[in-house]
Amino acid sequence: MIGLIVRRFIQLLLLLLGISFLVFMSMHLAPGDPATVIGGPTATASDLEAIRKDLGLDRPVLVQYVDYLGGILHGDFGYSFQTNQSVSDAIITRFPNTLKLATASMVVAVIIGIIAGILSAMKQNSWIDISSTTFALAGVSIPNFWLGTMLILIFAVNLQWLPVGGLSSPIYTIEGMKQLILPAITLGTASAALIARMCRSAMLEVIKSDYIRTARAKGVKQKSVIWIHALRNAMIPVVTVIGINFGGLLGGTIITEQVFAINGVGRLMIDAIAARDFPVVQGTVLLVAAIFVIVNLIVDIIYAFIDPRISYD
């Protein structure tokens, strides 16, 4: 197990190195100049030159990259061209909102997905099954900016049950919870649908297996047959989907944050891309990539707990 974690950590470092290079190069090679954004429409050519010199953008790209890497090794991810705030501070202040949103969405997705999946597998071809598979199909098909807008329209504007947007109140307050509900549903629906489909097919597969018949032959109660004997076996493929989705959710909060005016990493990234704010873009992309790898490592560790046949030694 420790070997696995060490191996993955080395992989993570190599991956981040590669990603940082790609992002750095693509930002510098892409059209658009941060100096013109900062200087504004009235800036003269010498103004722009001064800004570039000030930001260090006049040096060769590779030199800038090596300089950037050197900074990272000291924990310095650079400073925002726009606000001069340090990139790590900018991310640290916004990341909790993104994490809250992604976690709440995942909780919604896992609860709805697993329950819907199990019920539809247990009552195959019943109305429960049909409505749950229809929901799953709709869930993956509906774009989340549309779903978010509709939810705001119905529950915030018309019914006025929930706030329109923002995520400023702390999570443990009623207001904070209320603010999370609509964004979490918006972001979690597609994942819930995927989890439900995976869970249904895995359960259908598992309940046909010999060991389920053995459990019933022992006189195990139907409920325990499903929730203990079958579910744990069916969870192996489901956990994979949950892991991949959670990584995706953390990186994919951009649209939902935009729709619900949530000040998270997604919005930070979008604003930075628009303003050619290179250090912020690089920092946020590296964060998302690192999270993806770490979540996948956690999934691999969970596998070993669910299925004793999986060993990393």
Partner: protein, 342 residues
Amino acid sequence: MEQLLQVDNLVTQFRTAKGKLKAVRGISFSVKAEETLCIVGESGCGKSITSLSIMGLLPSNGEISQGSIRLGNEELVGKSDERLREFRGNKMSMIFQEPMTALNPVFTIGFQLREPLRIHKNMTKKEATAKSIDILTKVGISSPEKMLNQYPHELSGGMRQRVMIGMALACEPSLLIADEPTTALDVTIQAQILDLIDTLKSEMGMGVVFVTHDMGVVAEVADRVMVMYAGEVVEVGTVDELFSNPGHPYTKGLLAAVPNVDDVDQDLSIIPGSMPSLDDQITGCRFHSRCPYAMDVCKEKTPPSFKVSGTQEVKCWLQEVDNNGKSTTSSGSGEIKEILSN
């Protein structure tokens, strides 16, 4: 001795796209305590469905549409699944063909062994663990404490089948149903498992229903034998009667198909044709199209069961001819000798 298991006129059918099809067609039999009844027949003859019907473990599209199954004084047919659950693993148990897949891969042997004890005997975890160690010792496991913490994938097939047997017998049931428990095992392990079942049967005074298609196994374990063909019982008798004086042409065919180790030049006899499928409409005897002795009456009328002795019954018109004075019983054994010598 009083019957432990009494099955009368059992009909089990399946809902399929082709309508309701009968897999078991009105069979009756009984098992006493400390007796082993072997159910033999080809794949698809209904022997496994019969055992699943008794256990109440039919697939969701299967149902018992007629008949009665009595275990001791309790009628099982018509009981709710929840009531039957109290019998399963407690008063009647079942072991299956595939020890490699019959144990849950994600739980320890200890968890799976304690389960029936905790459910049916309301034991605490500690009591159930102690009992589990007892059981594993009984089924011939040398280091039971260690095995409790192992997972099925860490054990060999023979070990897993021992664990399965231990699990089935944990609550000391009065009836054990063994559905081809040795088919998937090596021959040497087979003999050990058969011995084990036999020993435990006498120790615990259980009745055993042993489903198999292996005549060698039948000779080894059976007190009585019931031969099934296409959902019906075609012959039942003691193991001696069946081997020395088989009455039904199908039984003779099965016996003739057993290889003989002493005869290296032997050509194995086969029963021509194959088992009819569930939706085949057959008039008369269900075996007539494959029977070397089929007469006109066999194609028209279903034969009743003819009593050959106090313990042997044969469902074949040839037996009626017998009763009318012609000695086809001896010619019957003549035939089998003939088949064997071919």
